[in-house]
C-alpha cells in the first residue's frame, strides 16, 4: 500500500511539473525574459508577484513555470540519449559477445571511473555553456548503468526459449534484438531513465552553480538558484522558490521511479539507481 502512495505522490508531482511546463505560456502572468522592469527588482511576494521578483525585476513565479519546460527537456532528452547509448551498446555487447563485448565493458568501466559531474564539467568546458551542450553532456555521462543492465538482461533473455526459437527460424540479429529482447527489458530501463531524470535535473543545477550550466536569460531553475546566491540575505525568496521547484520535481521523479521499480520487480528494491 505504501508504495502505492509513494508512486501516486511521485506521479502527481511529475504531472504538476509537466502541466506547469505545457501551460506556462497561458498561466504565467508575465513573460519570463522580457517583462523585466528594474524598478520592480527584488520585491517580496505579493498579490501581483506571487513568488516575488528577482534582481532584474522579473516575476519569479512566471520564471519557475517556464523553467519547468527546461527542466523537463533536460531530464527527458538527456535520459533518452543515455538510454539509446546504453541500450544499444549493452544489448549488442550482450548479444554478440566477443571482442565487442570486451570493448563495451572496458568503455563502461572507464565511464564509471570518472565521476559523472566531473565528466559533464569537462564536456561542458569543451562545448561551452548552454542548453544543447548541457543535453549532450548529461546524455553522455550516465549511460554506463543502463548499459550494464541492458547487457545482463540480454544475456539472460538470449537463453530464453522464444529468442532461441527466433534464432532457429533464421531471424536476423537486429530483428531479434528489437522484437524479442528490447521489449522484454524496457521495464528496468524505464526505471533507470525515470530515476536518471531526477539526477539530470540536479546535475543541471550543480553545473549552473559552477558557471557551466544553462545561462540566463533562459529561466532554468539551476541558473535562477545560482543567481540568487548573492541575494540570499536581501531577497531570500529568490533562492527559496527555485530550490523548492527543483526539490519537488526531483522528488517526483525519484518517487515515480521507485514506485515503477517496486511494481515491476519487487526484488530490485535493494539496488541503487
Amino acid at each position: 500500500m505504501r508504495f502505492g502512495f509513494n508512486f501516486m505522490l511521485g506521479a502527481t508531482l511529475t504531472a504538476l511539473v509537466i502541466l506547469a511546463g505545457i501551460l506556462a505560456p497561458w498561466i504565467a502572468p508575465f513573460d519570463p525574459v522580457l517583462d523585466a522592469d528594474l524598478m520592480n527588482s527584488e520585491l517580496p511576494p505579493d498579490a501581483t508577484f506571487w513568488f516575488g521578483t528577482d534582481g532584474q525585476g522579473r516575476d519569479v513565479y512566471s520564471r519557475i513555470l517556464y523553467g519547468a519546460q527546461i527542466s523537463l527537456t533536460v531530464g527527458i532528452v538527456s535520459q533518452v540519449i543515455n538510454s539509446i547509448i546504453g541500450v544499444t551498446l549493452g544489448m549488442t555487447a550482450g548479444y554478440w559477445g566477443g571482442w565487442w563485448d570486451d570493448l563495451v565493458n572496458g568503455l563502461t568501466n572507464v565511464m564509471l571511473a570518472i565521476p559523472s559531474l566531473i565528466f559533464a564539467l569537462a564536456v561542458m568546458a569543451v562545448l561551452g555553456p548552454g542548453l544543447p551542450s548541457l543535453l549532450i553532456a548529461l546524455g553522455l555521462t550516465n549511460w554506463s548503468w543502463t548499459c550494464r543492465i541492458a547487457r545482463s538482461s540480454t544475456l539472460s533473455l538470449k537463453s530464453q526459449g522464444y529468442v532461441q526459437a527466433a534464432q532457429t527460424l533464421g531471424y536476423g540479429d537486429l530483428r531479434i534484438m528489437f522484437t524479442q529482447i528490447l521489449p522484454n527489458m524496457m521495464g528496468p530501463i524505464l526505471v533507470m531513465a525515470t530515476l536518471g531524470m531526477g539526477s539530470a535535473v540536479l546535475s543541471e543545477a550543480a553545473l549552473s552553480f559552477l558557471g557551466l550550466g544553462i545561462q540566463p536569460p533562459f529561466p532554468s531553475w539551476g541558473s535562477m538558484l545560482t543567481d540568487a546566491r548573492q541575494l540570499i540575505q536581501m531577497a531570500p525568496w529568490v533562492a527559496v522558490f527555485p530550490g523548492l521547484a527543483i526539490f519537488l520535481s526531483v522528488l517526483g521523479f525519484n518517487l515515480l521511479g521507485d514506485g515503477l521499480r517496486d511494481s515491476l520487480d519487487p526484488h530490485m528494491r535493494t539496488r541503487n539507481p
Binding site: A36, M39, L212, P216, Q230, L231, Q233
Partner: protein, 530 residues
C-alpha cells in the same frame, strides 16, 4: 554631477587626512584580505600578472616607480631623482643610497639591470616583458637576438641610465608590480617562488597555501619612520559573503565590497562611515564589431547608446557601485572631460536613428558575455527588454571568462561585454582606438578614424602633460561620438575598513591594493591586533 562632486570631496579628504595624519601609532597587526582568488599562484611576483599577487608585492617589493594615489600619477620610488635628456628618451636615475634588500644586500644599478633582464628573458615569458619592452634593445633581447638590453647602462653603483625607444613616460610601465626589483645575488632563482626577497617595508615570514601570507616589519626599510605596523596577515578570502561575515565579526580589517554588500553597508550606521570609495580606471562597455552589418552604421551604435537606460541599471542592478560612463576615459583619468554629457536615455531618438539607418524594424545580434555580475550576462539580461522596445533583439552568448578573451581577441563576435582598462595613463588607454593598434592587442572594435589618429599621434609627441591631456580629451570625445561601444560605466571600487585602521588611500588603479607602510592602527583596535 553630484557623484563627481562627492568624489572630488573624497579625494581632497584623502589628501587632508594624509597631511593631517598625526598621532600615528606604531605596532600591531593588520589583517588584510586578498579577494581575487582562493590561492596565491606564486610568490615570484615577476611571474604573475594577477592582481591577487599584488597584495604580497606591496608589502615585500618595490619597483623603480610607484603610484601616488593622492596625486594620481607615477612617482620615483627607488631613485631620488632622474635627469631626462632633451629628446625625452634617456633617463639617468640617481638611486637611493639607503635602500637595502631583506637579505642585506644594498640596492645597486646591477639589481635593476638583473631584474629587467630576468623579466624580459625569452626563457621566462614573464608578463612584465611588455613593460620593459619600451627600453631600447629590449625587443631584440626578448626575441633572443641579443645577450644584453642595450638601453640599460650602469654608470656607477647608484646611477643608472635607461634609454627608451621613444619619448614615453616610463613611470607607467616601470611602476607595475611585474617590474619589481629583485636582488641580483640570489643563486637559485627558483627560491623566489617560495621565499621572496625584496626591498619593501615588510619581510616575508610565512605562506600557508590556501590560507594566508604573513609579513613582518623590515627594520632597514629606507623610508624614515616607516612602516608603522609590526605585522600584516594577508588572508585569502575570495567569497564576497565570507568577507562580509568575517568583516562583521571583526576578523578582518578591510573588505572589498560587491554591489549587494555596498548597498547593505550604506544602510547600516555602524558601517556606513567607514567606506572608502574611488572611481577605478576600468570602463565597462559593450563593444560592437563593425564587421557585423548593422554595426557599420554609426547611427545604429548611437541608437543603442540612447536606447539603454544605463543609470537605471547602475542604480538597481549595480546598486550604484559605478559611475555612468560619458566616454572612454574614466573620471579619475587626468584627461577626463567633465563637461562631456553621457548619451541620454531616449528611446524615441534611438528609434529615429534606427529608422534613418534603415533598421526601423530592428535586427538581432549576439552579445558574447561571461558570467560576471557587473559586466557579464546579468547586464545583457537587463538591456534585453530595453532594446526590445526599439525592435532590437539581443541574444546573450554565454562563455566562460577564459573563453571571452579568446573570442574577443580573435575578432570572433558580433558584440561583447567586458570591463577594460582605461587608465591610469590616458595615452596608453586611448591607444586602444588608434587604427595602428592590432585588433587583438586592444583595439577590439577595430576602430579606425583618421581624425582620431591625428590627435593621438599629436598627443604621443606632446611632452607637456596639460597639452597632451587636452589632445587626448578631444580624441576621447571623438570616440564617444562614434560610439564603437556602448558606454556603460566606470567601476566604483568600495572598501570597508574597521574604524581603528588609518592611512588607507583611494587607489584608482586598484583600490584593494594599499600602501601597507602608511597604515597604522589606533588604540581602539581589538587586543588581537595590538
Amino acid at each position: 554631477m553630484l557623484k563627481r562632486l562627492s568624489l572630488a570631496a573624497m579625494l581632497s579628504l584623502g589628501v587632508a587626512s594624509a597631511a593631517l595624519a598625526e598621532g600615528e601609532r606604531y605596532g600591531g597587526t593588520l589583517v588584510f584580505t586578498a579577494p581575487y582568488g582562493s590561492s596565491f599562484a606564486t610568490l615570484d611576483i615577476q611571474a604573475s600578472p594577477n592582481t591577487q599577487e599584488e597584495f604580497i608585492t606591496q608589502a615585500i617589493h618595490r619597483a623603480l616607480y610607484s603610484w601616488d594615489s593622492i596625486d594620481n600619477k607615477p612617482v620615483l620610488e627607488l631613485a631620488t631623482s632622474a635627469d631626462v635628456s632633451d629628446d625625452g628618451t634617456t633617463y639617468t636615475y640617481h638611486l637611493r643610497q639607503n635602500a637595502v634588500f631583506h637579505n642585506g644586500k644594498p640596492l645597486t644599478a646591477d639589481d635593476i639591470i638583473y631584474s629587467y633582464k630576468r623579466i624580459a628573458s625569452p626563457k621566462n615569458a614573464f608578463p612584465g616583458a611588455s613593460f620593459v619592452a619600451n627600453i631600447k634593445g629590449a625587443e631584440d633581447f626578448i626575441a633572443g637576438k641579443a645577450e644584453d638590453i642595450s638601453g640599460l647602462k650602469k654608470i656607477d653603483d647608484h646611477t643608472l641610465e635607461i634609454t627608451f625607444t621613444g619619448p614615453i613616460n616610463p613611470g607607467f610601465p616601470l611602476m607595475q608590480n611585474t617590474t619589481a626589483i629583485y636582488p641580483s645575488n640570489i643563486e637559485d632563482e627558483s627560491t623566489f617562488a617560495k621565499n621572496p626577497v625584496g626591498l619593501g617595508p615588510f619581510v616575508f615570514r610565512e605562506h600557508v597555501p590556501g590560507s594566508q601570507v604573513v609579513v613582518e616589519k623590515f627594520d632597514k626599510y629606507y623610508e624614515e619612520g616607516k612602516p608603522y605596523l609590526d605585522r600584516v596577515n594577508i588572508v585569502l578570502m575570495a567569497e564576497d559573503a565570507a568577507r562580509d561575515v568575517a568583516f562583521r565579526n571583526k576578523e578582518i580589517d578591510v573588505s572589498v565590497l560587491g554591489p549587494t554588500q555596498y548597498q547593505a553597508y550604506q544602510g547600516e550606521d555602524a558601517l556606513k562611515d567607514h567606506l572608502l570609495e574611488v572611481a577605478e580606471v576600468y570602463t565597462r562597455n559593450i563593444g560592437f564589431n563593425p564587421a557585423f552589418e548593422p554595426f557599420k552604421d554609426k547611427r545604429v551604435r548611437q541608437a543603442i547608446n540612447h536606447a539603454i537606460n544605463a543609470p537605471l541599471i547602475i542604480e538597481r542592478l549595480v546598486k550604484n557601485k559605478a559611475y555612468p560612463a560619458s566616454g572612454w576615459l574614466p573620471i579619475s583619468s587626468p584627461a577626463f572631460d567633465k563637461d562631456k554629457a553621457p548619451y541620454d536615455y531616449n528611446p524615441e531618438k534611438a528609434k529615429a536613428l534606427l529608422a534613418e539607418a534603415g533598421y526601423a524594424d530592428g535586427f538581432e545580434f549576439e552579445v558574447t558575455a561571461s558570467p560576471n555580475e557587473s559586466w557579464g550576462v546579468p547586464i545583457v539580461e537587463a538591456i534585453l527588454p530595453m532594446l526590445k522596445k526599439v525592435n532590437i533583439t539581443v541574444k546573450p552568448k554565454p562563455v566562460e571568462s577564459s573563453a571571452l578573451g579568446d573570442a574577443v581577441t580573435s575578432n570572433n563576435f558580433q558584440a561583447f561585454i567586458w570591463s577594460n582598462l582605461s587608465g591610469p595613463d590616458p595615452l596608453n588607454a586611448m591607444r586602444c582606438y588608434y587604427s595602428k593598434t592590432q585588433q587583438s592587442a586592444c583595439n577590439y572594435t577595430s576602430y579606425s578614424n583618421p581624425e582620431f589618429d591625428k590627435l593621438y599621434e599629436a598627443a604621443q609627441q606632446e611632452r607637456d602633460p596639460a597639452k597632451q591631456n587636452d589632445l587626448l580629451r578631444q580624441a576621447n570625445n571623438i570616440v564617444q561620438d562614434d560610439a564603437p561601444v556602448w558606454f556603460f560605466n566606470y567601476n566604483k571600487a568600495v572598501m570597508a575598513y574597521q574604524p581603528w585602521v588609518h592611512g588607507l588611500v583611494p587607489n584608482a588603479n586598484e583600490l584593494a591594493v594599499q600602501p601597507y607602510e602608511e597604515i597604522w592602527i589606533d588604540d581602539t583596535a581589538p587586543a588581537s591586533r595590538k
